[in-house]
Symmetry: C3
Subunit: 460 residues, 3 copies
């Protein structure tokens, strides 16, 4: 096999493959819309060269470090203080253990398309591939802005703290030499979720920064002010990540008293749940007012290994999903705002059981609910096929978010979007060959999936 | 693509397709057995022409109205007071958004096979297709009885209130000009579930109608009397729809006291759960006595949107599934009656996780438990394949209910049964080509799935 | 179809089939590693002929008796006191009802490969097949040791009570005429789980047998002593089967008090949960010390039908799975020992929802966690494909246990391992033809799946 089969991920059966190829050809070069991710705006503003291959492709990618760790590699050997070439050799040594994972698929794509690496990584070629990648990374064409253009990115959203002044975004927008669209995203977790790892002191900081009084009304006002700032700087969405998506409707006085207890801290689990749940509802209310799309990434137990969190910090590979329900959890929010057409609530899950049971039925009724693309562990070919299969028969294609790459790994963006386009072309081709939709309609859907659909869901 | 590919839903691979075609050919014209559904007996008794295309194909079909609503259409524009042609145009405008759904698949089937519509619906042909359908609907061959015959329906079960006198059923049976078999089904939800939307006042009405005293014994006696009436009028089954299928065994005195509290109302959640759970067990006990098959449709949160329920009533598209377990929930019932061979308990779920985890293992041991066909949101080609895949390796084909259309949409009955026959033929063909069952056995199973199996499960 | 298609379970599409055949050919004759199962060592020590076909293939196989029971056969007609030929005829009469099940697949394999039976079982040939099988079973080549060699079994683990003296294992090891490797497995359920059916009196028996005092320390010491005995006799693993895998960390004094309450009995559900949960953690701690691999089979409600349990005992077909979570349940254990590289915790589940949501993410980070092969109801071709699809994209192939047959049915061992090899070859062939892994890597993985991977997971 050449490193990249041009027909990879397309169906094998000849008639389906022919149709899938045709659909894929329509979208292969379509601009990339990336309305949710974790690339920092500063990297595009500064346009500094990326570092060495290891810091770019291993150290910062917890998909990669986690599986090396599971296979016995010490995280210290992969961190910022480690020998980059040594870490790269460790990856090469364990590379067959990544076979079949999304990470391996993306990295093969990147090595082949960006670095011209033809051979599959193994211990014998680890050094020469490292040298090839390192050499390329020093070229001007491999700086962030050049790659942004080369990747055909039309929109790229970052993820930002509500107190961020967004100066990088503004500077980037005012820089005539950069024409890309880079949008901030309001991510208030630490200010609304008492169970967030960095909740401690966050609300007082928010109140101080916005000059609001320590009342519930002052607090809501502070959040609204910061949202307004984000809207002014181009944001189209806010994103919330919570373990439990339960929403809670409270009377104002009840909310005020709860807020006082939360500020005084520490609080009972019931209070923490009620506060977070009520704030999810309040954030949705604010979205009805200011139009920000609300994306919800729910159901992950963050920092499962305390020892690893203490030694290496968050986002180090031990965030583990838990069972997650939405039908009952979102009801209080939907009772209040579910029929509002200006509300867009995009729900992501890492619990596949919710697809056919809850998300597709909810998005198949409520005009405000959109089904988020397969997220995190599920952002991989087989999982994407399962997602389409589970949701489409109830909700069709138009109640979804479009593809979201949600990545910190800038170089993987084209690989991830290409994967989604191949999977969707294959899925559509199957429906056509099974006589379930006309080819003409499949063509329209293929086009819409990379344009109209994400643009509508994210109000772009 | 012609509107209906004759090989639609059959496998693409040539050897599997050949076998699937052969199996499908055996059953394509087999009579339709429809032992559970929602077509009113009155429609066949009166044999009045159906109304306009919209009232027939849109207004009454909450699969269709829900997805239009999700895509931004006001339910008022689709209701009985709306302009029928305007509503039809709305459907045409949004038709591509139904692609891939079961609704679209069925409607294409109906338009092609019943109305000779060759083109796929779109705004340009909406009016002409409307006119074609409207013209046909006024023909004598499109009256309910003519279609009943044309569809090859052998048995059709309705769903009825326990206090229904079943006069329509009797009249229909006594009408020599109609030879079809139309059976009533006893649906006691509102009389046994304090959480049912129409529970209020139902038990007093039942007691009054049957002249029974307001004691638990009187109440059980009233239910038994009404069941006896249904049996006398030809019923073979009762159907229960509850959100939570928990069953509860109670001592008689305990049940008596609980009944008194329930009658006095309002009651705690624990009392409501215990009462409903105990009544599920009592209904099973009655089935051991009178032989009625008990079908259980569990796990749907009804009327999720209060505003919509208030404005438009029940069955308007916002019944949403919740996680549902059966192993522990059904145990009290099965401890009492699970080994009774005369009890047939057919369990339906919209939580796919229960298929391999609970339903197949339960039906693979208890002679009383049958696995219900994929229900509601799961009554679609991919979901049906997942169902067969999940249950067959544990329970085989013979511990299932046979296909159930469960529909209010009379015209969709042939499309739905045809879908099941195609999917089952494809599934069986795969097992044959994978060397897992002999073709001869697959032929027998294909035949049994549309005859012996539903006849046995429903004691027809 | 001949009874056994040489390409059974391989993909139909020609290019995938070619690759799958090649991969399967590499492993078809590889030795069988069976590190977890229920064949008694005595059967190999004594090397007595197996009994009649029914006692060998029906009576002791609750996969078979359960489905016959579900289809209306009385368990008495299949038990040790029943007429063997009559029971065999019952199986033949119901044989088509097993179509599509794993049991039917295995039995067809056994009848064809071991007994030369070419025809599919049915009532007309039931007697002649019975006679054929019975005649073969009396031949010397059908004694346990001869079959052990013929099956190519390299390692076979049994499952044993901690108080077993393992004399059979020792005698077998010292018998020069038998060169197979047969290992004991420490199965302490009844000594650690107050909800186990045979918990009553077990701890006192353990303390008496080991001469330890009735303190928590004495109890732990007793378990450690018995583990040491197992290690000395060649054991590489312990196995625990619990309904709820919740683990609990307790302070020593708290554990001591809890132990006293448990010994005094009867205890509250909370106490029983805490004790079992703490003992799971203690067993893991012991594994860090003595190196025994800890396998966890969780999530089955044992003896669901009390009447059947009373009349026929345990393992009679009514153990039914329940929803099972691991992310939260295993956390206390993993917080203590999850990063220990000498700990191997192999987790099996019959709740498929945990695959992508919990097990793959856990095993993709913790070096101690291995994903157990599809277990029990899920040990079947479609379920195995779902398992690979659900876990591989997150955790790859190398964080799994390798195939485990977990069987009491000695004759089914080759059929089960062959099934796994065919399914894995098919899965790998699909990844190759979809351009996701190079063929060269797939070949390595195919080899490793039947050698390196189980050997590493089970420290063989």
């Amino acid at each position: 096999m050449s490193p990249l089969d041009p027909d990879r991920l397309l169906p094998l059966e000849p008639s389906a493959r022919t149709i899938a190829r045709e659909l894929y050809a329509r979208v292969v070069t379509a601009p990339i819309i990336s309305p949710h991710g974790h690339v920092p705006a500063a990297s595009l503003l500064d346009d500094e060269p990326f570092g060495d291959p290891t810091s770019l492709l291993i150290t910062k990618d917890h998909y990669v470090t986690r599986l090396l760790h599971a296979n016995g590699v010490d995280l210290r050997a992969l961190g910022a203080d480690a020998d980059p070439r040594g870490a790269w050799r460790l990856l090469a040594e364990h590379w067959h253990r990544f076979s079949g994972t999304a990470s391996a698929y993306w990295l093969r794509h990147e090595l082949a398309t960006l670095f011209g690496v033809e051979d599959d990584l193994d211990p014998s070629n680890a050094d020469s591939i490292y040298d090839t990648v390192a050499a390329r990374l020093s070229e001007p064409g491999f700086r962030p802005r050049a790659l942004f253009r080369r990747f055909g990115i039309e929109v790229l959203a970052t993820t930002d703290d509500p107190l961020d002044d967004l100066a990088d975004h503004r500077a980037l927008r005012e820089d005539d030499s950069f024409t890309g669209r880079v949008l901030p995203t309001f991510r208030p977790d630490r200010y609304i979720d008492p169970d967030a790892a960095t909740f401690e002191g966050a609300i007082p900081r928010l109140l101080a920064a916005t000059g609001r009084p320590a009342t519930f009304a002052g607090y809501l006002d502070a959040l609204e002010a910061r949202r307004a700032h984000f809207v002014a700087e181009g944001a189209v969405s806010l994103d919330v990540g919570v373990t439990d998506p339960t929403t809670v409707d409270l009377e104002p006085q009840e909310a005020e008293r709860l807020f006082a207890r939360i500020l005084a801290g520490p609080c009972s689990a019931a209070d923490r749940l009620a506060f977070r749940g009520h704030m999810l509802l309040q954030l949705a209310r604010m979205s009805v007012d200011d139009g920000l799309v609300m994306t919800l990434h729910a159901g992950v137990h963050r920092n499962h290994s305390t020892a690893t969190h203490t030694a290496f910090g968050p986002d180090t590979g031990h965030d583990i999903p838990v069972p997650t329900g939405f039908t009952r959890a979102l009801r209080p929010l939907l009772e209040r705002f579910g029929l509002e057409r200006d509300l867009h609530l995009v729900v992501f899950t890492v619990d596949e059981t919710a697809y056919s049971r809850e998300l597709a039925p909810l998005a198949g009724f409520y005009p405000s609910v959109y089904i988020g693309a397969p997220w995190w562990f599920l952002d991989a070919p087989d999982a994407m096929q399962r997602w389409r299969s589970a949701i489409t028969e109830t909700a069709g294609f138009y109640r979804t978010s479009g593809f979201i790459d949600d990545t910190r790994a800038f170089l993987s963006i084209p690989a991830r979007h290409d994967t989604a386009r191949r999977v969707d072309s294959s899925f559509l081709a199957r429906l056509v060959t099974e006589g379930r939709i006309p080819l003409r309609v499949a063509e329209r859907i293929a086009d819409d999936l990379v344009s109209t659909i994400p643009n509508a869901a994210f109000k772009l």
